[in-house]
């Protein structure tokens, strides 16, 4: 299938600060592609460059075959943007807002009327179309916000955190709309979020972005497979390289590593391995398991046999959240 979006080494600098550091990815026609990352990771800046809101500092991208530097005007006709903010005019009605955004994309007369009616149906707001936006609930505003990005029937829709501040009912409605647009109309969608559940539900492939870089890009299944059967965080009073190697060699364990604390330096020849000095809180060892329950049993048995005190135990189910934690050492919502 042809790519509707190709991004190569795209960067954006604001003065000395580099918000996006050479991201590269491609989105297939008809695909729902996720950009997952915490707040400030560079998701919105990346989208802003691809939609013509911000000029890129370096790199290239093609939208529907149009170069975003040389042919942005054409690329904009293919794109649809649903920004994170409620980019609507609150004193105007939903219909007046949609009419305006339709006209901006060149729609007029009967076409405009039909398109506005269509998108109002998609977001289930036909009944309240002539009421002012300011009288709507947060969820309804979000739905109009999405409708405004759809009114000109874009081939590629950018949904930037579309469920922020939305009640569960509207959230589900948005999910259904996204799935229907993709399934029934073949619309390609780039969905950014810091909610891994949303990305898992909607997207076929995901790019995990952190501090302006894409740190992983694959199908959700493959990304989760990075963690095998899950992650176990084990709190210990002490640890050294030899202990980590022994833990990693246990059955059902894939790898073991210290979390965000420097390891004790490797011992010199003939010398005893030095242990990392115990602190009040001890150390945390991250164990990637092939099968989490079996790995827990094996790890506890091993530690008891060596008289090493276990101070805490956390079992993380394999999902994008734990993938992100595994890759960055941070939680998505941090």
């Amino acid at each position: 299938m042809a790519a509707i979006l190709e991004v190569e080494n795209l960067s954006k600098k604001f003065g000395e600060f580099e918000a996006v550091k050479g991201v590269s990815f491609a989105v297939e026609e008809g695909e729902v592609f996720g950009l997952l990352g915490p707040n400030g990771a560079g998701k919105t800046t990346t989208i802003s460059m691809l939609t013509g809101v911000l000029p890129p500092s370096a790199g290239a991208a093609r939208v529907g075959g149009y170069d975003i530097r040389a042919e942005m005007h054409e690329a904009k006709k293919i794109n649809g943007l649903v920004p994170q903010d409620l980019a609507l005019y609150p004193t105007l009605s939903a219909r007046a807002n949609l009419n305006f955004f339709g006209r901006i994309y060149g729609l007029q007369g009967k076409d405009l009327k039909e398109r506005v009616s269509d998108v109002l149906r998609i977001v289930s707001l036909t009944e309240r179309a002539d009421q002012r936006i300011e009288t709507f609930s947060g969820g309804m505003k979000r739905r109009v916000n999405i409708a405004a990005g759809l009114v000109h029937q874009p081939r590629l829709l950018f949904l930037d955190e579309p469920t922020v501040g939305v009640d569960p009912q509207s959230r589900n409605h948005i999910f259904e709309s996204v799935q229907r647009l993709n399934r029934e109309r073949g619309m390609s969608i780039i969905y950014t979020s810091h909610y891994m559940e949303e990305v898992e539900l909607l997207c076929s492939r995901v790019a995990i972005i952190d501090e302006g870089r894409i740190i992983a890009l694959d199908t959700i299944k493959n990304l989760i497979a990075l963690l095998g059967g899950g992650v176990i965080n084990v709190g210990l009073t002490r640890a050294n390289e030899a202990l980590l190697a022994q833990l990693a060699a246990l059955p059902a364990v894939k790898e073991a590593a210290l979390i965000s604390q420097p390891l004790a330096p490797p011992p010199g020849e003939g010398a005893e391995p030095k242990e990392r000095p115990a602190s009040a809180s001890g150390v945390t060892v991250k164990i990637v398991a092939e099968h989490s329950q079996q790995a827990v049993v094996n790890v506890i048995g091993f530690l008891n046999g060596r008289d090493i005190t276990l101070t805490s135990l956390e079992i993380l189910e394999p999902n994008l959240e734990s993938v992100f934690l595994h890759l960055t050492g941070k939680k998505l919502r941090e």
Partner: protein, 415 residues
């Protein structure tokens, strides 16, 4: 096309905001009524006589001149006072009087002899034109009546003298002939009156306007300028709101050029400014009359008034972009607008007549666009000047618009 779409949307939003409409359109009307009404009340308390004063220099002093003065009094509308020639000239120079009439030294002799006489009406350059026209009509009417009377009397006297030595049965001037002669003289007096009125306007002494004579001619353009420039704040706030809610990003992501986007944000301010001017001037002309106050008159060149209004509307729209480009927060927009728009408005003579401000502050008041708009309106409305006399004002407003637009483009943060 996109600029028009954006502008129409902004106008739709503006007219839904009743507070903004009241501030920009209704508030100036209240200011005008209060200002004009208060000054008019002061004026009426000082002088009950509503007739137009007409100082007369009588160089003749004869019976003919007295007959003419009696005719003027009978005609009404003017309050005749006799003054010395030197006094009249000095008073006119110093703007204590708007005009004076001179009756020539040989008035009575020429009147009796049926010779052509010319009366001279000397007007100050700043004399209200419609008042001058009213005075001229009164003088012309009185002169025509006296001309007719004298021409008919002279011809009848002539016929009487010719008949004097002729026997009654041979007399050629029958009553029918006398009537025909009288009718002929009557018709002649219409086309070639014995007494003609010639108007003169001495060289402009110092350009002082007659605004204080007619407060409405000061209040309407003054408050129009003040409140029209306040629309710059509306333009700035509209741009700020668009950025704040994120719709600006959405517009940047749409196939709309930055020039069209800016034009779309400027256009509503321009249209609102023109609507404001239209409403305020219409109120000045018709509403003031309904309220029993002196109405606004558009001077002798209404087209020039329209051109100044357009130039002013353009200038205020461009100023809006500058404020939007400089101010980063809503508070800054409010603060900057108050400083620039009210401060510049006061400096530009919207509250205090320009000639008073100029005498107190000197040429510094010319640094604000309000001055030039106000100056142009004063020239056209209060002093009865025409388009050629406000070219400098229009150029200044044009230069301000260009500079504002250039600064706006330079400093405007599209990101």
């Amino acid at each position: 096309m996109n600029a028009v779409t954006i502008a129409l949307k902004d106008l739709q939003i503006f007219f839904k905001d009743r507070g903004a409409v009241v501030q920009l359109v209704a508030l100036p009307l209240i200011f005008i009524v209060v200002f004009s009404g208060a000054l008019a009340a002061i004026g009426s308390e000082a002088e009950e006589d509503t007739r137009i004063p007409l100082p007369v220099v009588d160089l003749d002093g004869g019976t003919g001149a007295q007959a003419f003065l009696d005719e003027l009094e009978r005609a009404g509308g003017v309050a005749v006072t006799l003054v010395a020639q030197e006094t009249a000239a000095t008073d006119l120079d110093e703007r204590r009087i708007a005009r004076f009439l001179t009756i020539p030294a040989d008035f009575t002799g020429k009147l009796d002899g049926g010779e052509q006489i010319t009366l001279r009406l000397t007007n100050h350059p700043d004399a209200p034109p419609e008042e001058t026209e009213a005075v001229r009509l009164v003088i012309a009417g009185a002169a025509q009546d006296l001309s007719l009377e004298n021409q008919i009397l002279a011809s009848l006297r002539q016929m009487g003298e010719m008949n004097a030595g002729i026997p009654e049965e041979n007399q050629i001037f029958t009553p029918e002939r006398a009537m025909a002669q009288a009718r002929s003289q009557f018709e002649r007096s219409k086309t070639t009156p014995l007494i003609a009125v010639k108007e003169t306007v001495p060289a402009k002494p110092d350009g002082r306007a007659s605004e204080l004579d007619e407060p409405v001619q000061l209040a309407v353009p003054g408050f129009t300028v003040l409140f029209v420039f306040l629309t710059a704040q509306t333009t700035a706030r509209s741009i700020y709101d668009e950025k704040k809610v994120g719709s600006f990003r959405r517009l940047l992501a749409a196939p709309v050029s930055k020039a069209a986007l800016l034009a779309g944000k400027v256009l509503p301010g321009f249209i609102i400014a023109l609507i404001q001017t239209l409403v305020i001037f219409a109120f000045g002309m018709f509403g003031m009359r309904l309220l029993g106050l002196t109405p606004l008159h558009l001077g002798s060149d209404p087209l020039a008034v329209l051109i100044v209004a357009v130039a002013m509307a353009l200038c205020t729209s461009c100023l809006g972009i500058v404020i939007a480009a400089i101010a980063q927060t809503e508070n800054q927009i409010g603060g900057l607008s108050s400083l620039i728009l009210w401060g510049a408005g006061i400096l530009g003579g919207t509250f205090i007549p320009l000639f008073i401000l100029e005498s107190v502050m000197g040429p510094v008041i010319k640094i604000v666009p309000h001055y030039w708009a106000n100056h142009a309106f004063n020239n056209l409305l209060a002093r009865g000047l025409t388009l050629g006399d406000v070219v400098t004002d229009l150029l200044a407003l044009g230069v301000f618009s260009l500079v504002f637009f250039a600064i706006g483009l330079w400093k405007f943060d599209f990101d």
